[in-house]
Each structure stands twice: as structure tokens, then as C-alpha cells.
Symmetry: C2
Subunit: 448 residues, 2 copies
């Protein structure tokens, strides 16, 4: 059985702490690039550099690719051009495209020049597409066959050709102009009679993905059709230009899932837990600054009711309860909505239904907790009208939280703004401002 990530990490750290570098080198040599990348990502950046220098240069490229973007950028900045060119030499075209995109312009050009002409053309064809599209995800290492040959001929061709590219579960059938016709799975190739023609056996129903397809839609297609690899074609003339494999799609799924989550806390999915202090502080300062504006907006509302608070301090005491319960309820709705968008579940006219549902949920819970809060307030301050005011403010703010929780992501989406990023700021502004306003406003009306 393999050792767990944590125990490997602990062993490596012990070796580092003791200053003995030989054991570090030895334990690194036993790991594959993805495992080394995981280890590097879990080291504070000073030690990370130290360990990185000990990685076998032949693995540099693969390791860099498996690193989260934030960490990779960090390491690339400290490598010289020769090292980068060498690292790039070890990579597949699709991985190389990923890699080159993260290099400084001048270094990228030197890497390109170091390639042979064929590879350079292939690389340029992949780089021409957005990294978030099928074209950016694809590799050009397709193995193609013609429809009019027999399976026996295909097998002899493969034996002469040698190893297949990784994740090859199917060959692609093309016409003489490179037009995609269908897919010949290795399964069929191995289980159908040798004398059958490719045309008889191939699967024509497997649709190719256009190079322009969005990465998210590619992931969706892999999921819904349970694919291991898929052909990529030009949308104009259906010419086969490449192949997307499940390993790259899994990376898309991972990044996508983390993107929304991190965004809601004002972080990017590339944020490196072990980054140096100063850049980390700088990146987070922006988010805090934005939130400061919204906090002062709430504070301003409270400021309008200074006279009320002086007379009834209990209102100031209960302020946090009303506001925070609104924030909690709203963020539940918001989180569900953002996931709904991620899963393509929102749209096509179900928004109104959702609004009604979330509002009803909020009213049921609002009623329940308004009564509880009112009772506690009554027991605490012994004043029935105050209890009434708090209860009413609670109920209203819960309803507002639901409305805002649905409307904010829908509106942001329409404006082309990422609801995961901006949603939570806008939401808490509303629930804080409205919560304070309801409580202090009702208090002024009823209690003074």
C-alpha cells in the first residue's frame, strides 16, 4: 500500500528540518510528477523553492503542470530561460500550450523556437484557441484510420506504429480530406471479426466536439456521455483537428468547482495557501476594501437613528441578531442559486418558481425564529412592544434575504458579472442595511 500524502509530507518536513538533504532527494525520486506537485503545493514557499531545486530536471515540466496556477507562477518566475526550455521539451502539445501561456512573452518565444517545425505548427494551432475552449484543451495526437480497411489491417498498422497516445480508448475514422466520420473503439477493434471493415464497425453516433465549444460544455458532454476521449473538429468543415481526454476534463471539473467556492470568499481558485505574506496581503486587501464600503453603508443607516438608540439601547443590543440571521438565510439561498447556475439548472423560466419557493421557505423560518427572538427579547428587556418590533424586523429581513438571494445572482448574471464573486458582498449589504433599517425604523415608529 502506498503511503498517505500526510505521512509523506511529514517525512519530507522532518528531513528538511534536520537539514539533511539526501533523504529529501531520495524520497522525491520515489514519487511521480503529480505527487511531487502535491507535495510542493503543501510546503511554505521558502522550503518549496529548496525542494523544487532538488526535483529531477527531466520531471520539471510535468511537475509544473500539475501544480495549481498560483504556485506554478511563483516557481516559473525564478527559473531561467534554459531551464524553462528544457522543462517544456518534456511535454505533450496540449500540456505545452497550457505551459507556454503562463510564461513571460520573451521566454515563450524562445521555447517555441526550440521546438522542431512540426511540433511548433501543432503548438501554434492549439495556442490559437482560448484555453477555456475545446481547442485549448485538445491534444493533436490523434490516431486515425480510413473507413474502407479491415480491422485486421488496422491491427497490423497499430503493431507497426507502436505505443498509442495515453488515454486512447478509440481511434478516429476520417475520410481522405481529414473529415471526421466516426469512432472505432479499441473494444470493437478487439472483439469484432478481423475481416470486418472499419465502416461496418465504427460508431457514427459519437458526435465530435467543435473546437470553439466552451470548456464547461465539454465537461458536461464528457459527463453525460461517459467519455474517456472525444474527437475535436473544425466547426466549418468538420475536419478532425485533435482529441480531448478525460484527464484534462477532470482538471476543468476541479477548477470549476473550486472557482465558485473561492469566489464567494473573494479569493481566486489559484490562491496559494502557502504564498509569501506580502502579495497575499495585497490580494486580500481589495476584498476587504470593497467590504468596508458596504459595512459603512450599514453603519450609515444606524447613524441615522442615533436619537432612537440613545433612548432605547436595547435596540443596539439586538441589532446584531436581526442582521446576522438575515445574512445567514440569504447566503443559503445565494449558495444554492450559484450552484444552480454551475449545474445549468437555472433559466428557461423557472426563476419565478424559485423566487416563490425561497420566499415561502423564508416566511416559514422567519415566522418561527421571529417568535423565538421576540420571546427572548421580552424575557430579557421585559417590554412587549420591543419584542414585537424585533420579531417584525426579523420576519421582514428574512423575506428580504430570500428576495435578494434570488434576485442578486439573476441580475448579476444578466449584467455579465460573476454572481459567485460579487453576490455575497451585495447580499450582505442588503441584509445588513435592511436589517438595521427595519429594526431601528420600526423602533422609532412604535417605541418612541
Amino acid at each position: 500500500m502506498a503511503t498517505t500524502a500526510e505521512s509523506r509530507l511529514a517525512r519530507l518536513r522532518n528531513a528538511l528540518d534536520s537539514g539533511r538533504l539526501l533523504p529529501v532527494k531520495r524520497s522525491l525520486a520515489a514519487l511521480n510528477p503529480a505527487e511531487i506537485a502535491d507535495l510542493l503545493a503543501a510546503l511554505p514557499w521558502a522550503e518549496r523553492k529548496l525542494v523544487w531545486d532538488m526535483v529531477d530536471p527531466a520531471d520539471d515540466g510535468e511537475v509544473l503542470l500539475h501544480l495549481p496556477e498560483g504556485v506554478r507562477g511563483n516557481l516559473i518566475r525564478d527559473m531561467d530561460t534554459a531551464e524553462l526550455v528544457a522543462a517544456a521539451g518534456e511535454l505533450d502539445i496540449d500540456d505545452l500550450a497550457d505551459f507556454v501561456e503562463h510564461l513571460p512573452e520573451t521566454v515563450a518565444q524562445q521555447v517555441m523556437l526550440a521546438l522542431d517545425a512540426d511540433d511548433r505548427t501543432r503548438l501554434e494551432s492549439v495556442l490559437a484557441f482560448s484555453p477555456d475552449s475545446a481547442g485549448g484543451l485538445m491534444n493533436t495526437d490523434t490516431v486515425t484510420v480510413r473507413p474502407d480497411v479491415s480491422l485486421g489491417v488496422v491491427q497490423r498498422y497499430l503493431r507497426r506504429r507502436g505505443d498509442l497516445p495515453s488515454h486512447t480508448d478509440a481511434l478516429f475514422v476520417v475520410d481522405r480530406y481529414g473529415g471526421y466520420l466516426g469512432t472505432l473503439s479499441l473494444d470493437k477493434l478487439l472483439t469484432r471479426p478481423e475481416e470486418h471493415l472499419v465502416a461496418q464497425v465504427m460508431d457514427r453516433s459519437r458526435e465530435a466536439l467543435p473546437v470553439t465549444m466552451q470548456a464547461r460544455d465539454v465537461a458536461q458532454r464528457f459527463h453525460s456521455s461517459d467519455l474517456v476521449s472525444a474527437p475535436v473538429v473544425t466547426p466549418e468543415d468538420g475536419r478532425l483537428v485533435g482529441r480531448i481526454t478525460i484527464d484534462d476534463v477532470v482538471d476543468v471539473i476541479r477548477a470549476d468547482a473550486q472557482h465558485d467556492w473561492m469566489s464567494m470568499a473573494g479569493l481566486t481558485e489559484q490562491e496559494d495557501l502557502f504564498a509569501p505574506v506580502r502579495p497575499a496581503a495585497r490580494r486580500r486587501a481589495v476584498w476587504l476594501g470593497i467590504n468596508l464600503v458596504t459595512a459603512f453603508a450599514a453603519s450609515f443607516v444606524v447613524g441615522q437613528f442615533e436619537a432612537t438608540i440613545t433612548q432605547i439601547v436595547a435596540l443596539a443590543v439586538l441589532m446584531p441578531v436581526v442582521a446576522s440571521m438575515g445574512g445567514i438565510a440569504g447566503s443559503q439561498t445565494l449558495t444554492l442559486m450559484i450552484r444552480g447556475y454551475a449545474l445549468n439548472q437555472i433559466g428557461g423560466g423557472n426563476t419565478l418558481w424559485l423566487l416563490r419557493k425561497e420566499l415561502l421557505v423564508a416566511l416559514m423560518n422567519g415566522l418561527l425564529w421571529a417568535v423565538v427572538v421576540a420571546v427572548i427579547a421580552y424575557l430579557w428587556f421585559d417590554r412587549l412592544s420591543l419584542a414585537l418590533v424585533v420579531g417584525l424586523a426579523m420576519l421582514t429581513n428574512q423575506a428580504i434575504a430570500a428576495l435578494v438571494g434570488v434576485f442578486v445572482p439573476v441580475t448579476l448574471k444578466k449584467l455579465g458579472i460573476d454572481p459567485a464573486l460579487a453576490g455575497s458582498v451585495v447580499l450582505t449589504t442588503f441584509t445588513d442595511v435592511c436589517g438595521f433599517f427595519c429594526l431601528l425604523g420600526l423602533g422609532t415608529l412604535i417605541l418612541l
Copy 2:
């Protein structure tokens, strides 16, 4: 090109709204089970039932499997036993195991009885393992070969055998007692000379996964070794018992990524956006109730300073700013920590480094925003000592937020509590209570 999920949804809804069921049926027939599942998940539950009844019964099983758990439970509750048995009949053993686990006990038994003896034994062997383990993820449809035969013989065997199970990228090599020896990839089978023996060509370095391995570790292994399928063995004697394929691993990755995110908002990853109102309200009530307790804790702290607030209302006005900025900073740290745990990056002694780093980040930002807040407070209330108090409270609370943001998940993890679930409640309790206490306490000391 395939139509997008959203346009399919809109078309279906139009048909539903107009009450014409024939177009609905027709558009359903054009979709595969995963696509139907996505559609169902995006429909309000009343319409969902309507559409579900129109799904071809032969697809029922597959569609149910592709549905999120929350939605699936909902539909299963309304099916009768005959329908469930029929739906189960269409599934692979690993999928069937998933499915049976979600059935009421009596129905599960009837489904088991409806299977033939072989399948029942296989199903029972899978059901014996936790669904979160390799055993629970595996299928029993392995294709095995012996090491002492030639590739030509293997090929003739496959031609006689017929179609391979889906996602077969390799055959497993076993000894006469079923002990796992290595892997024969289809790639090698197709590209090496026919007269070579399996033993010469097979990959002995591909380690099998023990049935007891955690699902999360399985996903990690697939990721780090870029696998499409992997053999599963008994840990005692290394006997091959099954095979895990990438499609099931992708489901684990998806569920895992959503789990932490949803948990932080007090939701489960199964929460159905389109669930009926009453159960949704009930599930969320718990979370609101827990948060109410923490809100009252903060409120109680404020209550201790009633006398101070009566004299300096400005403190009540500035309360939300100090508390919310602490909450924001703390939740950034918490989110990074929880993701760090998900990626296996925390442990092995890097916690102290993290604490130092997060504290430094907090102090840098705390200083910056404390000055900004102090200046605004001075301009607003024209009182230098008040500005000083607010600034100090801000700085202190930012530092506390960082400490809590690191310590809370570490402690919860040690106690065996999911930090994603409990972390945010504990964190905001600290940042609210400490924020109010610092501001009002310092105010009482310095300003009165």
C-alpha cells in the same frame, strides 16, 4: 452541434406550460439518461413528477442514478416496488449497489430477490463495503487473463467473448488463485507482437487498490497516476475482486468539491434547489437555530455595555464595521484552510507556519484598514479618541480573525468534526463577540 442545456430546458418548459405532452415526450426520447437527469433536476418538483412519468421505463434506472441524491430520494419515494425492481434490472452491479442503498429496506430485498443468483452474490459482495470506500465504488465486471498465454491467444479469447465492459482500457492479469499480478493495457495488447507472452508485456508497477481504501484517496490516486480504470484487491491476500472506473471517480470528485462549499452555508451537497417548500424550510431551520445562539452570544456582549452606548452612541454606529470586517477576513482564512484540508495540504507540521503567515497578512491589512476606518470615524464624529478606539478595535479583531481562522479548522479536525460544516458558525461567533467586546470595551476604558 448539440443544443445547450438551457435551450432544451426552455423548450421543455414551453411544452409543459402549453399543456401539450406529446412534444415533451418527443424531446425526452432524444436525450440520453444523464441529460434527462439534468433536465429533471432543473424542474420544480411538481413538473418533475409529471416529466418523470413520461420517461421510458427502460431508462428509469440510469436516469435515477444520474440524479443528485436529494432529487433521487424524492422520486423513489413515489415509485411502487414493481417499478423499482424493473428500474434496477437495467443497471450494472456497482450502479445497482448505489441504487439499492437508497431504497427502503423492504423494497431493497425484493430487488435482490429479483436478481439471478450470480448477480445477487456479486451485489452482496459490493454492498458489504462502505459506499465511501474502493469496495463501494467498484464494479465486478473485470476481464482477466493469465500471464502464460500469448497476446494472440488473448485476442482470440476477446473475439469469442464479445463486447468489453465500458471504460475497459486494460485487462487484469491474475494467477490461478485469482491473485492480482499486473495490468495488460489494450494499448500494449494491440501494439506488441502477437507471439509475446502476457507476462512479458504486462505492467507490474500498476498497484492495485485495496477494497478498504477511502473514496477520497482513490480519487487522489486516479488523479496522480492519470488512470482510466484500476484493479481492486482484498488487502489480506491480494485477490482481484473488482475494478474502479474513472466515471465513478469523477462523481466522487464532484461530490467532494461541492460538499465543503455547501457545508459552509449549512447545506448538504444533496440539497435540491427545486425541493418542495416544507422539507426545505425544515432542513434550513436547524442551521438558522444554531446561528441564532451565536448571534445572541454577540448580542449578550453588547448588552454588557449598555451604559457605554447610552453615552457614546457613535460606538453603536461603528459596531457593524468592526464586526463585519473581522468576519470577512476570518472567512477568507477559513476558506483557504478548508480547501487546504480538501487538497491534503495541511499537516506534517506546517500549521505553525500557516498561523504565522495568516497573522502577518491580517496585521498588514488590519493596520491599513484600521487607519482608513479611524480617519473616516474622525471625520464623521470629530473626536480623535473615538477614532483611536475604532482603529485599535479593528486591528485587534483582524488579528483575532486570522488566529481563529487557522485554529478553528485545525481544532475541529482533531475533534473529528467537519470544519466545513461547523467552521463558519464558530468563526463568526468569535469575530462578532471579539469585535463588539474590543470596540465597546476599549470605548469604556478610553472614552468614558
